[in-house]
């Protein structure tokens, strides 16, 4: 048997990974103030627009999908009957 990778079995590593992730998020928000913004839509100048839009889009997607599931979900053998 080959050696297995287990780095994500250790909660410490998962914690480190998460902290790294959160730092990236903060850096992304901060870095926006150091870049040159070129002509786009007016709302693109609003600081953190993309972050907010991405977050809301994602939650909206999952929220609507939950409703959609109630409408379209059937048993796996639905068509075989």
């Amino acid at each position: 048997m080959k050696k297995e990778l287990t780095i994500f079995d250790n909660p410490k590593n998962v914690g480190k990974f998460r902290i790294f992730f959160y730092i990236t998020l903060v850096l992304l928000l901060v870095s926006e103030f150091f870049i040159h913004k070129h002509h786009g839509f007016a709302w693109e100048d609003f600081p953190g627009f993309y972050a907010v839009y991405g977050f809301i889009s994602y939650v909206f997607l999952i929220f609507v999908a939950k409703i959609l599931r109630k409408i379209v979900m059937r048993k796996e053998d639905y068509y075989d009957k």
Partner: protein
């Protein structure tokens, strides 16, 4: 000089016939060399029209070579090589032959300069791809394959009706820009839209593709939809309906992708979403948008194939493909996992991966034209891609809860095929200039500006942040074994009734056609008796080899066929088939 070579399509289709006769290493090399040969041929071709024939007073063009067709020719050939390498160890000749004919006919569609040859290759594509679905030899695959070919035959008939009206109106079979004007253009539009899996004509795709074999679905994912995208770019650039069809396609399938449990079905809905981006680009129709659509087709073919190859590897090595049954595979399949993440990053359009340099062109084009609603939808859809393809596929397969499965990495040829695809994804993402140079219009676009990179990263990472919060709080949508209804409900539930109607109509058409074919076949059989017997033997021996007849059985069948032909006791159906083939040969020789 060029007219002395075979057209790429013909080379691959005829090349396919040899595959069942070869064995071992020679077979592997032969299959790998075919696409390389075609690629080296394409590189040398100058622009212009080649392989032109006269046919009933119409000009047939098998080689319309320009910047647009060339780029699609390149990517389809590269994809053919990757696909063949991935499927190299498959023992099933049916799959190999069908795949080569499928690739060949797609190249035929791409390089066709007239509607006659386009239509013939179009139908070849439909039939050969059906065999790739049937190759799985399961009940689901058989049923899905049947629905698939039915839908495509109807689409083909609509296209044919449009073509006939178009030729009647213009007096020529040649085509280029058509534009939405008149009934014939709408029929052609619908015919192409069906192959592009444009909503609401999309349901065949998530119905059929997840039922292929681990390797055949890789081929399926690349060719049919993207050759339709090519035709849309050729014939309907700037057609406004495409903007809104594309808008629906980028947004609706992502909800299904969230719900689906079968990874290949998730990827199929994701494919619809990606084709949606291309259709939006074509609909906008500016130089930037068209460039974006073409570039996105190129990148998408490679990274979507990469993701389907990962799914195929997982299916082959574990025998499972559902999110609910997988998880924790990174422990024993770390390379596959890494390749999956490259594919996921590419489709999510992370900076320095291929999707970023192409998708951002389309979104920027919508912004430049100030189509606000579309711009917002496209940005929303980009986040949606992060969910299903960027996070869900790698997370639930390789991480998530430990399923206890300890599968090995797939064999070297599969890893290498995925590796090549992953390399292209990163190379194009880091250094897009070579791709940009191949695009139909000059590119003045710069994807790597501070604003693009930071904006895109914010969009993606805060989407991922939302995922983290949702999954930790337990609000994230749970994976459930279920069937989610789509438009195909209409024909699957009312299918019995429709089947009867088709049965009556098609059978009557068959009878009339049979009468005609039998008439000509009788004439030809008398005329070419001996040559005919040899040709029939050649054809049927190839067929029997594919079907798995060997040695004694093959000899018995051979002798029986030869006697039958020489004594003219041949079953008429076989006679007709060979006669048709003979007519084609004569036409090509003259």
């Amino acid at each position: 000089m060029i007219n002395n070579m075979l057209p790429p399509a013909v080379l691959l289709i005829f090349g396919a016939i040899l595959v069942p006769f070869l064995r071992g290493k020679i077979k592997s090399w032969y299959m790998l060399i075919l696409p390389v040969l075609v690629f080296s041929m394409l590189i040398k071709l100058p622009y212009g029209n080649f392989w032109t024939f006269e046919f009933w007073g119409y000009e047939l063009i098998l080689g319309r070579i320009d910047k647009l067709s060339m780029l699609f020719g390149y990517v389809f050939t590269i994809m053919a090589f990757i696909g063949v390498l991935f499927a190299l160890k498959v023992k099933d000749n049916l799959q190999h032959v069908a795949a080569f004919i499928y690739v060949g006919s797609t190249l035929g569609v791409v390089f066709a300069g007239d509607f006659f040859s386009l239509y013939i290759f179009w139908e070849f594509m439909a039939v050969s791809s059906t065999f790739l679905i049937l190759a799985a030899r399961t009940k689901e695959a058989k049923n899905a394959g049947f629905r698939y070919i039915l839908v495509h035959l109807i689409g083909g008939l609509i296209l044919l009706a449009g073509i006939i009206l178009y030729i009647h109106k213009t007096g020529s079979a040649k085509f280029n820009y058509i534009g939405l004007d008149g009934i014939e253009s709408y029929l052609i539009f619908i015919g192409i839209a069906l192959n592009a899996a444009a909503i609401p004509l999309h349901a065949w795709l998530p119905d059929a593709y997840p039922n292929g074999t681990p390797t055949s679905t890789v081929f399926l994912s690349a060719f049919t939809t993207k050759s339709a995208v090519y035709l849309f770019i050729r014939t309907f650039p700037g057609a406004t309906p495409l903007i809104w069809i594309g808008g629906l396609m980028v947004s609706l399938p992502i909800f299904y992708a969230v719900l689906e449990n079968d990874i290949r079905r998730v990827l199929s809905y994701s494919l619809l979403n990606q084709v949606g981006f291309m259709l939006c680009g074509i609909g906008i129709g500016t130089e930037l948008a068209i460039n974006g659509a073409v570039a996105h087709a190129f990148c998408h073919i490679i990274y979507k194939a990469l993701l389907f190859m990962v799914a195929g590897s997982v299916l082959q090595m574990t025998g499972k493909i559902k999110c609910t049954e997988l998880g924790g595979l990174y422990k024993t399949m770390p390379i596959t996992c890494l390749l999956c993440i490259v594919g996921a990053a590419s489709i999510s359009a992370f900076p320095f991966f291929s999707g970023f340099v192409s998708k951002s062109m389309i979104i920027s084009a919508s912004g430049a034209e100030k189509i606000v609603a579309l711009w917002l939808i496209l940005q929303f859809a980009s986040t949606g891609v992060v969910d299903h393809a960027g996070i869900k596929v790698p997370f639930f397969t390789f991480f998530g809860h430990d399923s206890g499965i300890r599968a090995k990495e797939p064999p070297w040829n599969m890893l290498l095929a995925m590796g090549i695809a992953a390399f292209i994804c990163i190379f194009v993402g880091v250094y897009p200039a070579p791709l940009y140079n191949l695009l139909p219009y000059p590119v003045h676009y710069q994807p790597y500006t501070g604003m693009h990179v930071v904006g895109q990263l914010q969009l993606l990472m805060f989407g991922a942040f939302a995922f983290t919060l949702l999954i930790c709080s337990g609000y994230y949508i749970p994976e459930i074994k279920a069937k989610n209804l789509d438009i195909d409900w209409i024909y699957r539930k009312t299918g019995g009734f429709a089947y009867k109607i088709f049965d009556i109509v098609l059978n009557n058409i068959n009878k009339i056609a049979d009468g005609f074919v039998i008439g000509s076949a009788k004439f030809l059989t008398n005329f070419f008796k001996n040559a005919f017997a040899k040709l029939a033997l050649f054809l049927f021996v190839s067929f029997w080899l594919i079907m798995g007849y060997r040695d004694k059985h093959l000899d018995i069948k051979k002798n029986k066929l030869y006697d039958d032909i020489m004594e003219s006791t041949l079953p008429i159906g076989i006679g007709a088939a060979v006669a048709c083939f003979f007519i084609i040969l004569i036409l090509m020789a003259s």
